[in-house]
């Protein structure tokens, strides 16, 4: 923004960012911050100290207070007590804009870009360079963008519309925009939740680069391996309280989990050996032009078939085709040996299938509706309906049973689902499908963006369902999850099945090999 701060930044990158050479030890300090909402203490005297030139991971279950804390730092919420210090000086961040101008940039989990504007316009909005007539100088804006991208090793056309970019590329734009403010503190909220492995590698390169430039990076994640790969330090929060800060080189996975949940999680992947039954679902030569080709596989009762592959390899598309969301052009689907014609999701449901979709917000939740209405939506076709009237009493009783079994955290069934944490929303959506008593359950990223505790619960539940004889197809981008849960792993690459591995022969290297070819 100002040329002074740009030159200051160049200086630090030359100095290679030695934190001790600054007049302050921490780029950002949160001191004894307390934030209450009606009925809840969201943050109870928490602290957080971010050193310049470090990546500081923020760990905690959903509802631990991470998001609230980030919103305080980003000027969205105002603390009831305590203070935020920037470069050693106490600051009052009245609005998100004030925070941005003070040097705090936040990259939200749901990217906040304007779809039908170009990359350059998105980055420089409100700060557009003007020409002699006071109109926007597009050439200059383009030049500034190219310069910024060069610095960050981002290879994108500044003139392309955001709507044409992949999620990963949109994220790059968000990062570039944040960097363009010459921020001292950059907050990233689960930046890898929707991007592929190669894109993650690129993102990490950029993060390391920013670290060298002296920026303090707050990195919120649920993924353990990322913590060890990228973070220098981490802080753990639980139930609105600050638990502690450690160097990531000092601890192991189990230590962190213990800090996060306050108890031991005996097993991350409670895989059980169950008796595998007959083939329930058999897919043969399923093809959708330009998306996937000749996909064939079987799933047996009690079996968990993992679907691995990079994002864009066609995993989710195959699942959508099997469930009738987007039908295939050719190929057959057999259930219990009989060929079935599935054109719409209700055909699939009628054949005992259930499909937990990848995107909770887009295709899962009815956000304006309450938990009861969300959990019942797949069973009010025939079951629980008499002469068109919904049998409320029986339906509510069973819904409550399911929600209790899944340990959905909510005051009552009339709570709007929008007010639940991601993990609890996911439990409600799983409950929706359990009510249908499925024989075939397709799970697309069942634990994305969910905290460790809820994750373990969902894994336990999947195991239990397999135990009860349900044929499970589980798509996941997290290899440990695929390896930990699956009996067999089907790997896809660019729309083709590149291999089906048995549990004992599958490992991380083999899968990545097949997935990346």
């Amino acid at each position: 923004m100002s040329s002074a701060s740009i030159s200051a930044m160049e200086e630090t990158s030359v100095n290679n960012a030695i934190p001790q050479s600054r007049p302050y030890e921490y780029a950002l300090e949160v001191v004894d911050v307390r934030k209450e909402f009606p009925g809840v203490v969201a943050l109870d005297n928490v602290q957080l100290k971010i050193r310049p030139g470090t990546v500081h991971a923020l760990m905690g279950e959903n509802g631990a207070g991470k998001s609230t804390l980030m919103k305080v730092i980003a000027g969205i919420y105002h603390p009831d007590r305590g203070e935020v210090r920037l470069r050693g000086e106490p600051v009052t961040l009245a609005t998100p804009l004030a925070a941005q101008e003070a040097g705090i940039a936040m990259i939200h989990q749901e990217l906040l870009l304007m779809d039908y504007m170009t990359v350059a316009e998105n980055i420089w909005i409100r700060r557009e360079p003007k020409n002699a007539f006071g109109l926007v100088d597009h050439a200059e804006m383009r030049r500034m963008t190219v310069e910024l991208f060069d610095r960050l090793n981002i290879n994108l056309d500044p003139d392309v519309e955001i709507s044409e970019l992949s999620v990963a590329n949109r994220q790059m734009v968000e990062i570039a925009k944040a960097v363009s403010f010459n921020s001292d503190v950059l907050i990233m909220d689960e930046p890898t939740s929707a991007i592929t492995e190669t894109e993650v590698a690129h993102l990490f390169e950029i993060i390391r680069d920013l670290r060298l430039q002296g920026i303090g990076i707050v990195y919120i994640t649920h993924k353990m391996n990322e913590l060890f790969e990228i973070a220098d330090e981490f802080s753990v929060f639980r139930d609105g309280q600050y638990i502690g800060t450690h160097l990531s080189s000092e601890v192991n996975r189990d230590d962190i989990i213990r800090m996060m949940v306050g108890r031991d999680i005996s097993q991350m992947f409670p895989k059980e050996e169950v008796e595998i039954g007959d083939v329930v679902l058999s897919v043969k030569n399923l093809t959708r032009e330009g998306v996937f080709r000749d996909v064939s596989f079987d799933v047996r009762a009690g079996e968990i078939l993992g679907l691995a592959g990079l994002v864009g390899s066609g995993r989710s598309d195959v699942a959508e085709a099997v469930f009738g969301v987007k039908t295939a052009d050719s190929g057959t689907i057999e259930i219990n040996g009989e060929r079935v014609d599935i054109r719409e999701p209700h055909d699939a449901i009628a054949h005992g299938m259930a499909f937990l979709t990848e995107d909770r917000k887009e295709t899962g939740c009815f956000l304006p509706l309450d938990i009861q209405e969300n959990v019942q939506s797949a069973v009010i076709h025939d079951a629980f309906v008499k002469n068109g009237f919904v049998q409320e009493q029986a339906l509510v009783e069973q819904s409550v049973d399911i929600c209790n079994k899944l340990r959905v955290k909510t005051p009552d069934m009339h709570e709007c689902i929008e007010n639940l944490s991601g993990g609890n929303q996911q439990k409600v959506l799983i409950g929706r499908w359990l009510l249908t008593n499925p024989k075939i359950l397709i799970l697309d990223e069942p634990t994305r963006g969910i905290d460790v505790g809820a994750k373990a619960e969902i894994h336990g539940l999947i195991t239990q369902l397999a135990h009860d004889g349900v044929a499970v197809i589980m798509i996941s981008s997290e290899l440990p999850e695929v390896l930990g849960m699956s009996d067999r792993v089907l790997v896809m690459h660019e729309g083709h099945v590149t291999g089906i591995l048995d549990r004992d022969e599958a490992d991380q290297v083999k899968i990545m090999d097949l997935a990346a070819q």
Partner: protein, 339 residues
């Protein structure tokens, strides 16, 4: 986290969201009462014929609004209701004429039982709704555009059908649809329609599908709901109710003309919106719409009673519609933040 008390099927009694709108209605009525004593020197409420006029005026809009409410809950909009009233009114009227009337449109079709024109009116309305729904689901054009097209075309058909001349001279039995039960018939029809669809929306699969589609069409589809078929039904109901409103209206005033029902669609949408139906879909109740329609009626009558100029009436009405949405948005935001 484990120490939570389990959920139970027993529901906590919550104040229905319509309660605040009801308070607004009572408040407005009281305001007119007080102003009435001060400015006009008489009571606003203690006047049976005024109350009857209010509720009779509200009934026709109210019947339409019940259908429009459902369309809005699916996340759509219906701009065609007013024109559909005119179209089905005109067409049905030509089947309702008495043989002794001097200007007969279909000389061979006179003195028919009232059920014939009634059926024709409802069928024309439902057909218009079907076209709306079909266009929206099959061509994927926005509901705003599809029903805007119908709004213009249906008005055109209403004019073309009799070359613009009004149709009168209904049989006694047909006129009863608007004047029966001691002239309370429109109110009775309105209340029955509201009650039926209140039950449909709250207790039947059909109603729950409507809410689900409005809340998230993609999630509704994955849940196995046939969205296209359902939307067509909802638009047909809206058209059918516009047709029914037309029958009540022409039977009451014993004449049909191509210019009737002008702006009814906007009054119906206004009633729904004032009643708390969310234009973004998925939220709202029939009871709210009924109260919303009553608020419109009370205001109209109150302003006339206070001899407020018609121009001011429209200005104030517009402001109140906007205010209703502002209040609703504010309430939704507050609810979200409370989490």
């Amino acid at each position: 986290m484990d120490a939570k008390t389990p959920l139970s099927a027993a529901t906590k009694k919550r104040l229905p969201p319509e309660f605040s709108i009801l308070l607004v209605l009572v408040g407005i009525a009281c305001l007119f009462e007080v102003l009435g004593w001060f400015l006009v020197g008489q009571s606003f409420l203690a006047n049976m014929s005024r109350l009857q006029i209010i509720i009779l005026q509200v009934s026709v809009i109210g019947i339409i609004a019940v259908g429009v409410t459902q369309v809005i809950i699916t996340g759509g909009i219906d701009l065609s209701s007013g024109s559909v009233v005119a179209m089905s009114g005109m067409i049905a009227a030509t089947f309702a004429q008495d043989a002794n009337w001097p200007k007969i449109i279909h000389p061979s079709l006179v003195d028919l039982p009232f059920i014939v024109p009634l059926f024709v009116g409802l069928a024309v309305g439902a057909a218009a709704g079907f076209v709306n729904g079909w266009l929206i689901t099959k061509t994927k054009i926005p509901p705003f555009i599809a029903t805007l097209g119908m709004m213009v075309s249906a008005r055109g058909i209403a004019r073309w059908y009799t070359d613009g001349s009004p149709v009168s001279g209904f049989t006694e039995s047909f006129a009863m649809i608007g004047n029966g039960m001691g002239r309370w018939m429109p109110v009775v029809v309105f209340l029955i329609v509201a009650l039926v669809f209140h039950i449909v929306m709250r207790y039947t699969r059909f109603g729950k599908f409507t809410y689900a589609i409005g809340a998230n069409p993609q999630a509704a589809r994955v849940s196995g709901i046939n969205i296209d078929a359902h939307l067509i039904k909802v638009y047909m109901i809206a058209g059918l109710l516009a047709g029914l409103a037309a029958m009540v209206a022409i039977a009451r005033i014993k004449t049909a003309q191509a210019g009737m029902g002008m702006m009814y669609e906007l009054d119906a949408i206004a009633a729904a919106v004032i009643g708390g139906v969310s234009l973004s879909g998925g939220r709202g109740r029939i009871t709210g719409t009924v109260i919303g329609a009553l608020i419109l009626g009370v205001m109209l009558s109150g302003f006339t009673f206070l001899r407020v100029d018609a121009y001011y009436q429209d200005i104030i009405k517009g402001a109140i519609i906007v205010a209703a949405v502002v209040v609703d948005m504010h309430r939704q935001n507050k609810r979200k933040k409370a989490s």
